[in-house]
């Protein structure tokens, strides 16, 4: 339980720190796609009797860099290329897992929907190291990554290493997806990257504050998800995602309510006087 909680908290903090850049670039679903590709990596690992986490990181990173190169080339054929890559990834994963010695439906479900309870101390060590690396990269490079995601052409004219930063983001996405697959699973991994950001931006005004708020929401949802799932005997991954969605709904309703209250107590902005004289009839 303690191990499960630790793993979940690390993911809860790291996933939104990366997710905010993906949301800013309108790539909210990329984590989902990379998750599909990572499944092939899991299959490769199980087939070769190696650590599935390691092989998933490698295969997902290759997939993510491939997606980034497709994106950079142009957008028209990119959509279709992504679809081919993602479905190839999940189909390849299912076939490879079936071919491995571990072939039973349990091993597949464990990666698709997460399985914190079976997380070993070695897994936690890997999650902690990689999660810390993701966090440090996302926070330390915030100004540069913000510039690239906000206005890629401007970043290029500023002389920033745009391609290198994009590849860092792609690899970081792959790493985050893979370490999160033990917590929420490959099919729900994108949720922890995107939902805390979506919730935070309902009430924040700046990028830095959105990032901080999203990380807090991610942390709370992941922690509560583990505790609630243990109490209610529900799968921790799905429970975490539902809790994060509940936070999103609560903040959205709260913010809307607050706006209505403020509008009632403060009369609307004074309108500038018209440039022409309006005669009252």
């Amino acid at each position: 339980m303690m191990r499960a909680l630790m793993g979940a908290l690390i993911i809860g903090l790291a996933a939104p720190a990366l997710g905010i850049y993906l949301v800013q670039r309108r790539l909210s679903l990329i984590g989902d796609g990379i998750g599909h590709v990572a499944l092939t990596g899991v299959g490769v690992g199980l087939l070769l009797n190696q650590s599935p986490v390691l092989s998933a990181v490698i295969v997902a990173a290759i997939g993510a860099v491939g997606v980034e190169l497709i994106r950079e080339r142009g957008r028209t054929s990119g959509d279709l290329a992504l679809a081919l890559l993602f479905y190839g990834g999940i189909a390849g994963g299912v076939v490879l897992v079936a071919l491995s010695d571990d072939a039973n439906s349990n091993s597949l479900v464990q990666y698709l929907f997460g399985s914190l309870i079976t997380t070993s101390p070695e897994d936690i060590a890997v999650i902690a190291v990689l999660g810390a690396a993701v966090l440090i990269a996302m926070v330390a490079f915030r100004p540069a990554l913000f510039a690239v995601c906000n206005d890629e052409e401007y970043a290029r004219v500023s002389g920033l290493p745009v391609r290198a930063l994009n590849i860092v983001m792609a690899v970081t996405t792959a790493v985050t997806v893979t370490i999160a697959m033990r917590t929420v699973g490959l099919l729900l991994v994108s949720a922890l990257m995107v939902i805390p950001v979506a919730a935070a931006q309902q009430v924040t005004r700046g990028f830095r504050t959105t990032m901080a708020a999203a990380m807090v929401i991610g942390l709370v949802a992941a922690g509560a998800g583990v505790v609630v799932s243990a109490e209610a005997d529900t799968p921790p991954g799905a429970t975490t995602v539902i809790l994060a969605l509940a936070v999103f709904v609560a903040i959205t309703i709260g913010a809307a309510g607050w706006r209505i209250v403020r509008r009632r107590s403060h009369p609307p902005h004074e309108v500038e006087p018209p440039d022409v004289v309006l005669q009252k009839v």
């Binding site: 949301v23 100004p143 540069a144 401007y154 970043a155 005004r205």
Partner: protein, 259 residues
């Protein structure tokens, strides 16, 4: 010294050539306007100068260095036509303007006091300091445009490159814009801008380069300030001018007539 030198440049997309054999220069401290109708290739020209669009033939030098070898990007402040489409993640005016400091400091350096001062100075120059903590999406189109010029000014560049800075901008913002550019020029800065109409920027322009169908149709004295509308040069750039028989008119009316 020349700040920008373009010689015999040709640019094309997908096998179709958009600019053919274009040559012109921007000297230190000069304000040059590239004028032309929509689709004349004027935006492509500055995108090529900045390295956003590849050059097919010819050469471009920036501050005396061939563009391919040019590394000193902090000397150039780019002001795009508009702020990228909002994705919903909020960003404050100050955060957007702070991006302009990256060319100076690189990506590994932590923000310093000098960066904060530069951001505040740049916002003061465009008259938006009071909005520093507001989300950029709450600003008007003209104020967003001024935010972009503040972002470029924050890097303390020697050359400003602006793409249609006054397109769709309210009159008050256009004046604030012109004033900020005037102050930049008075401190020795050079400016290269693309425009459809000059408006309040007219008095600042030293030289106009008129692009028509991918070629330079006219390089010469700037259109005179307001009040001299009878000036012959003025007709070359006015969007509602009567088409000129010489073929160097860039008014969209010639294309409307063709339809």
């Amino acid at each position: 010294m020349t700040v920008v030198s373009v010689s015999h440049a040709a640019v094309g997309y997908d096998g179709r050539e958009i600019l053919h054999d274009v040559s012109f220069e921007v000297g230190a401290g000069e304000v040059v306007a590239i004028l032309g109708a929509n689709g004349s290739g004027k935006s492509t020209l500055i995108r090529t100068i900045l390295g956003l669009t590849p050059l097919t033939r010819g050469e471009i030098d920036l501050f005396g260095t061939p563009r391919r070898k040019f590394k000193d990007w902090a000397r150039i402040g780019y002001v795009p036509q508009r702020l990228g489409a909002g994705s919903g993640v909020p960003a404050t005016v100050g955060e957007v303007v702070a991006s302009g400091r990256l060319a100076r400091g690189g990506i590994f350096r932590l923000p310093r006091t000098a960066d904060k001062t530069a951001v505040r100075d740049a916002l003061t120059a465009v008259g938006l300091l009071d909005r520093i903590n507001d989300p950029v999406t709450t600003l008007s189109g003209g104020q967003q445009q001024r935010t972009l010029i503040a972002r470029a000014l924050a890097g303390k560049p020697d050359l400003l490159v602006l793409d249609e800075p006054t397109a769709g901008v309210d009159a008050a913002s256009q004046e604030a814009f012109a004033a900020a550019l005037g102050r930049f020029q008075s401190t020795g800065g050079s400016i290269l801008l693309v425009a459809h109409e000059l408006g309040p920027l007219r008095p600042l322009i030293d030289r106009a380069v008129v692009v028509h169908e991918g070629r330079i149709a006219h390089v010469g004295p700037p259109p005179e300030p307001a009040g001299h509308h009878a000036e012959p040069d003025h007709d070359h750039v006015h969007p509602h001018a009567v088409p000129q028989p010489t073929g160097i008119c860039v008014a969209p009316t010639d294309r409307i007539a063709a339809n």
